[in-house]
Symmetry: C2
Subunit: 249 residues, 2 copies
């Protein structure tokens, strides 16, 4: 087996042709609702369908390919401005035979958490890309609905154990803004008072800037204190969602 591997390595055309792509589940919060970045496919298969942004992996790491695709679709430059604060992590890979009718395609999916970004500019490389409310996303091309669902699961879970909710907001934020992130991702409202005390009690989750907002809420209320992300990488103790019966089975 090893010898065969070795010999085959000298003639790549011996392999069944496999393409490796990256697909990105990029999430952000807009108007209090969770949005995902989708592109409209120009050509077959699934022409005109919505799909996750993605493309072939070039001579680069998988992480770099994902970041490049995200930058291309948003029209932003990697590592610059708002894109510099994007959290990007590998989700999982999808490689069922037949998931792309043209040929065997193994896709490495990535999950991105972004603060509110400008609308993608229909430009050079950018196809018709847009932030779409997750709740209103229709059918997706290929197996992208599955990938999106897996990404949402991962995102919901990550908010429990990590401080990544802060990557959805600006560099300075209020506790209420953070709570709205949790509410949008988890799809359920959280008790303001308990959430407030909980966030401040977790070491390294947030740290105070000493400043407050310049004015209260739109419909009244006191000025809120501002915080920035702390140095914690994991939340101890975690912010657990209420246990649902579906999980136990």
């Amino acid at each position: 087996m090893d010898e065969r591997e070795f010999l085959e390595s000298y003639d790549p055309s011996e392999f069944p042709p496999v393409a490796v792509t990256v697909d990105v589940v990029a999430l952000t919060i807009r108007d209090g609702a969770l949005h995902v970045l989708l592109v409209e496919r120009g050509g077959p298969p699934f022409a005109g369908w919505q799909a996750l942004p993605g493309g072939f992996v070039l001579d680069e790491t998988l992480d770099a390919a994902a970041l490049r695709e995200l930058a291309e679709e948003t029209g932003l430059r990697p590592g610059e401005g708002a894109l510099g604060r994007v959290h990007l992590e590998q989700l999982r890979s999808y490689g069922d035979p037949g998931r792309d009718a043209r040929m065997r395609v193994v896709s490495v999916a990535y999950l991105a958490f972004a603060p509110s970004l400008p609308d993608p500019q229909a430009g050079s490389d950018a196809r018709a890309a847009a932030w779409v409310p997750v709740a209103g996303a229709g059918e997706l091309a290929f197996d992208h609905a599955t990938i999106l669902a897996d990404g949402l699961d991962r995102a919901r879970s990550k908010l429990e154990y990590t401080p990544l909710a802060t990557t959805f907001v600006g560099p300075e934020f209020t506790i209420a803004e953070l709570r709205h992130v949790y509410a949008a991702v988890w799809g359920e409202d959280l008790h303001a008072g308990n959430f407030h005390r909980k966030v401040l009690s977790v070491p390294g989750f947030v740290e105070s800037t000493g400043e407050t907002t310049t004015r209260g809420g739109e419909r009244g209320g006191p000025k809120a204190r501002l915080y920035r992300a702390g140095d914690a990488r994991l939340l101890h103790p975690a912010l657990l969602r209420p246990a649902r019966e579906e999980n136990v089975r």
Copy 2:
């Protein structure tokens, strides 16, 4: 971009040749210590080095490829006997350019939890495969040390939130056997009394068989009650490791 994708799809040789493989981090408990299945490489590169079992993905799902490789290396048949109780899940993918000097290789790594399996038979397809104590594993070929480390991290974490510790033991087991699984994977002893009460308090983790062991421990002690895995898919509340300061940073 989409047009180029479409056109390229008709001429696979246009792609830079990429090979897709699966590598399996198969873990089991032997003599109270965590072991990983390793093979000795026969040919270059890394001839004579130890490596994770793996190979090319054929016309099959990624999961099927991982199960096939595991079956080949252990000499067991997939879905049969002990292999039928193996837990197999995708870990993550590794695709840095240069991780294999011969060509671009993207590897989809899998994590397997197995009850104690017989020693692999050096047979037809099986190379020199063996269960090696994780603590005593030396350097590994390619980036397999990284993959193993990621697999161990995942395994340690999975024991916290899922009942997968039961996949390391037989269909019937004592609470003490389960505790030894946790001790071996986490690398720390657990308080017997507290662990016992905790396991029984989590709904669906284990269920009693009504039987007991036929004799006590080797060095004395009462007979222990026997349990089988329950129907829980997640542990609520979870069995958390003590929080370590390294996590917060």
